[in-house]
């Protein structure tokens, strides 16, 4: 090997993890994975569980595709991605049902949603197909975290303002906010408010991070 060996956490590799958190966030910058951001951010718990599942599926799928990248015929690559993702998702589902039954009940329909998550497809196509396994793994972790924090932030506001609870715990009731005439905003639990919340996050992010503003 005459190539200089790159350190496991070189500057470039670290960027693979930090970039998707802000500058290249899959939801707020690339606007991918909006479907699941809409569907499962009514409460914190499913959002957290979904984040963990995506973390597992995306990092493993990235590694698998990266290992196979020299063997996958490009004409059927999308189908290969789908098979890899679907297999992983079903494996997760089966194991959860057998060993962590309660979590699997919580996940139920979302397991299927992971298969259609465009972030996973996008990362496989744009990154794993052209990069070695370790980098792909880091990219998977980074993008999952980028996805997760938006999901959890949106779920936080929707659950707090929509149901007055956090992770199922009745915060507002305990604080006695209802006694002074406050009422839950039922609109927050409806899907459109997820988009509005994501929009607000994008707005705040662009005020903070000028790099994201396209030149006129």
């Amino acid at each position: 090997m005459n190539q200089k060996k790159e350190a496991l956490f070189s500057k470039k590799n670290k960027k693979l993890i930090t970039d998707p958190l802000d500058d290249n966030n899959p939801i707020t910058v690339q606007v991918l994975g909006i479907c699941s951001a809409l569907a499962i951010t009514v409460q914190l718990k499913p959002a957290v569980v979904m984040s963990f599942s995506v973390l597992f599926v995306l990092s493993v799928a990235n590694v698998v595709v990266s290992l196979l990248r020299k063997f996958i015929p490009s004409r059927i690559r999308i189908i290969v991605f789908l098979v890899v993702i679907a297999t992983l998702v079903i494996l997760v589902d089966e194991v959860l049902k057998a060993y962590i039954f309660d979590v699997s009940k919580e996940l139920s329909v979302f397991v299927g949603l992971i298969i259609t998550n465009c972030i996973i497809m996008g990362r496989l196509e744009a990154f794993a197909l052209g990069n070695p396994p370790w980098k792909s793994f880091l990219d998977g972790i980074g993008n999952s975290f980028g996805y997760a924090w938006i999901l959890i932030a949106v779920a936080f506001f929707r659950e707090l303002l929509g149901s007055g609870t956090l992770y199922g715990y009745p915060v507002l009731e305990k604080l006695g906010i209802y006694n002074i005439g406050y009422e839950n905003n039922g609109m927050m639990i409806l899907p459109p408010m997820a988009l509005v919340t994501v929009g607000l996050i994008i707005w705040v992010q662009r005020i903070r991070n000028k790099k994201l503003i396209e030149p006129k």
């Binding site: 059927i76 098979v83 297999t87 194991v95 329909v109 149901s163 039922g186 639990i189």
Partner: protein, 257 residues
């Protein structure tokens, strides 16, 4: 090698499908017994909570044997059959014509009074919903109800398995004052006070709520012949008990005299 040659594409996809199929069937076969055990325990747990006994999944087996005194399958005339209750799959029964259906029933004894537990099965917005409802021994007053679902919307329809939705069923009645079957409806916008046949619906979960209403009506309706027989029987029993108590009372009075 040319990766896009047809032969290679065929070879690759065949190999991939074989590997994946083997992996998935192996996992499925290996994990099936564990999964079925979890589901069976959860059913027992749900049956128990419909009569107000809340236990963890691990303790469900033990408590089930303690509180559930009898379970059997009814035919469409409300007569007991000797079909094994564990062989009944409610999702298949509900698709049969009414007269071919077999209805499972569980009986529990709480504080010396019998409760009748009826398994429920229906459809919500995204998939099946199910549950158990228990009736007091007047075959009219609801003693408890539990619901669950496969895939209802979190925060909306999925809330049917929460206490705030299930608890109001307690004390509701399935027959009206004239003795006609009316079932219990989940009312959008909230049930009126003193409504014995309605409970509050869930905002944003109307289709799931309607599913619960339809499920209760459809399922309970099938048990009506049994309820009628049982009601007469229980009435006679009550009178007998009353007479017995009366005799005992007379005896005591006589002794005192």
């Amino acid at each position: 090698m040319d990766l896009n040659k047809n032969t290679y594409v065929f070879f690759f996809s065949t190999a991939m499908v074989l590997v994946v199929a083997a992996l998935l069937s192996f996992t499925s076969i290996k994990l099936k017994p564990l999964q079925q055990k979890n589901i069976a325990l959860e059913n027992k747990q749900n049956i128990l909570s419909s009569v107000g006994i809340y236990v963890s999944r691990e303790e469900a087996d033990l408590n089930y044997d303690k509180y559930i005194t009898d379970s059997f399958v009814l035919d469409s005339d409300g007569q007991k059959t000797d079909i094994d209750i564990s062989s009944i799959q409610l999702n298949k029964e509900t698709k049969k014509p009414k007269k071919d259906q077999n209805m499972p029933l569980y009986i529990s004894n709480i504080n010396g009074r019998e409760k009748y537990i009826i398994p429920l099965r229906g459809t919500g917005l995204w998939g099946p919903i199910w549950g158990y409802i228990s009736l007091d021994n007047d075959m009219n007053t609801v003693y408890g109800a539990v619901f669950d679902h496969k895939a209802e919307t979190p925060g909306l329809g999925a809330e049917i398995n929460r206490d705030f939705f299930e608890k109001p069923f307690n004390g509701k009645r399935i027959f009206d004052i004239e003795g006609d079957f009316v079932s219990i409806a989940v009312v959008k916008g909230g049930a009126k006070e003193n409504d014995y046949h309605g409970v509050d619906g869930i905002s944003g979960g109307t289709i799931t709520s309607d599913g619960v209403t339809a499920m209760l009506k459809e399922r309970l309706d099938k048990y009506l012949p049994y309820f009628e027989n049982k009601m007469k029987e229980n009435e006679v029993n009550d009178i007998m008990n009353f007479i017995e108590e009366d005799i005992n009372l007379n005896d005591t009075i006589n002794k005192l005299n």
